[in-house]
Amino acid sequence: MIKVRIPTPLRPLTKGQGEVEAKGANIEEMVDHLEGAHPGIKGRLCDEKGELRRFVNIYVNEEDIRFLKGKDTTLKDGDEVSIVPAIAGGN
């Protein structure tokens, strides 16, 4: 199992849970598995083409997947995935 840390804005989709378990050999499969258990979450993470949204940061064991293989980043049992939406703004 993979432990997934859910940020507060997405917790309404996970019944308030800050951590859920998921399966998948890579990030893309993990997102699909999450969608099965928590419908609606995929649309918050991915655009209509299935690509990860630009403002969504995903870390595998604290490594940013943008510097790994993006949604093809492989996962193994015991990995910890963190989802952290960007915080940005301006005047």
Partner: protein, 159 residues
């Protein structure tokens, strides 16, 4: 949203942070329990250096950053260093605290959320606090709830 209480020391630290970076925007997070803030995390504004920032602003269609110089970007926008955010959230988990406030400074404009702030407000449960240095001698701090483009002023108590 719960009544917001912020220690005076943390309010002073935020103003000092804003002044130290002026004319560039500062940013950071406050954590606590049930609206009572107890922890302050300064986060680096990486808007000028991080290519992801330009993509995020473009995707949200809120501000064109691509043509600005690095210095100009940091005067008009902020983008929190993702790695520092991850570390702050980990610390909050370990201390059993909740993200309570997301703050940044406006160095030339009032303490009111801009269209950019509203368009990029992805954390509806947090209070968004703005430190305005428009009048340098009298920093103005105001907090808001931003939920689905709806902005509501939140009073906070200095404790």
């Amino acid at each position: 949203m719960l009544p917001l209480k912020i220690p005076r020391q943390i309010l002073d630290e935020m103003v000092a942070h804003a002044r130290a970076l002026d004319p560039y925007e500062c940013c950071g997070l406050l954590a606590g329990k049930e609206g009572a803030v107890s922890r302050h995390y300064r986060i680096t504004n990486t808007v000028a250096k991080d290519a992801q920032a330009v993509e995020v602003f473009d995707a949200a269609n809120v501000k064109q950053l691509a043509d600005l110089s690095e210095a100009q970007k940091a005067e008009v926008a902020y983008f929190m260093d993702p790695k520092e955010m991850l570390a702050a959230f980990k610390d909050m988990r370990e201390r059993e605290l909740d993200l309570t406030v997301i703050y940044h400074s406006h160095t030339h404009s009032p303490a009111y959320p801009s269209m950019t702030d509203i368009g990029l407000a992805l954390y509806p449960d947090a209070a968004y606090l703005i430190i305005s240095l428009e009048h340098k001698a009298a920093p103005d701090l105001r907090a808001y709830s931003i939920q689905g483009h709806q902005v509501t002023r939140i009073e906070f108590q200095a404790i």
